[in-house]
Subunit: 191 residues, 2 copies
């Protein structure tokens, strides 16, 4: 079990994710986050000195959840093709975890006005490229490491289109087409 | 020369584009747009009854400008490959016209909370796919029409990564790599 402090931080940042998805970055304040997490006034300020610190922690939370999902897909996905894994990841991200990715895109645009958030997102993006390379190696996928940065950019872009469409418009066949395109872009012969 | 009313609408929506890029969607109000365009108080309300009408007109303005650029690229780009055209378009969009595309991404996220804006963006997205198919045909590019919707999604996604990075981080070699990946995703043998 995580220590109580970690649990509380997760509750607060999860509330921030929900608010970012529902109301945009303007909807995230210490007070709104406490209310949404059903915690007493003042809790958020105890954990996050500033609004920017809260936004930074929320970005870190999204990426930690994303990497945890990728790792689980590695365990259950042995034998799956790169297209299977990416299609499944995109579809789940655009439906079950839609709020989480809407939140990270809101934060990405907001980072242009907040240097500390920009620095965090840049570090997280580098970490995601490294994580994805290792993930491909662990799964014996025939994807050249030098193609991964481009694939991550295209995956992120495809996900932006999917989560910023109206909910319910995400179509499994279209998602599979995007996954095939992403894999083909990296490895011409693989699909 | 366009009629004075069209000119005034363009001034107001161009001011809205600049504000969206600088301050996010929350920075766009009738008053802020008039100030930014150096026009008298009340002008914006004369043209746009509501804040949503102003945002809708701004989305239409971005797409009209985008299509005009694509048409110009068609005139000057005879003989260019699909990769040349897409790399050039992405680079210019991410540098010279960065504000315009930051604006459309801000509007895309905001559209999840505004049905009229969502309907406009959906219609504009369909129009862009149709426009791009015709553009490819005019230029004799060997891109299958059925691949265009996926290419437009990947182009939009790549552009999101580029314009939401810090200004000055846009690298011509990386942009060319993205353009090659997008074309390869649509037409495996073309690059």
């Amino acid at each position: 079990m995580p220590p109580p402090n970690d649990l509380r931080r997760a509750q607060l940042t999860d509330a921030a994710i929900a608010l970012l998805a529902e109301a945009g970055v303007h909807g995230v304040t210490h007070r709104a986050v406490e209310r949404r997490a059903d915690l007493p006034a003042g809790t958020a300020s105890n954990y996050f000195r500033s609004r920017e610190a809260l936004l930074v922690a929320t970005a870190e939370r999204v990426i930690a959840l994303h990497h945890a999902d990728m790792s689980r897909a590695g365990v259950s996905g042995a034998g799956a093709t790169a297209v299977d894994l990416i299609a499944d990841s995109l579809f789940t991200a655009a439906t079950t975890y839609r709020a989480r990715y809407l939140a990270i895109f809101e934060l990405r645009l907001e980072s242009l006005r907040r240097p500390a958030l920009a620095a965090t997102l840049l570090a997280l993006s580098d970490a995601t490229v490294a994580f994805t390379r290792q993930h491909h190696a662990d799964l014996d996928l025939a994807i050249p490491p030098e193609a991964v940065a481009t694939m991550v950019a295209l995956y992120g872009g495809a996900l932006f289109s999917l989560v910023s469409a109206q909910p319910g418009e995400v179509d499994a066949v279209a998602v599979r087409g995007l996954a095939e395109a992403i894999v083909r872009s990296a490895v011409p012969g693989l699909t």
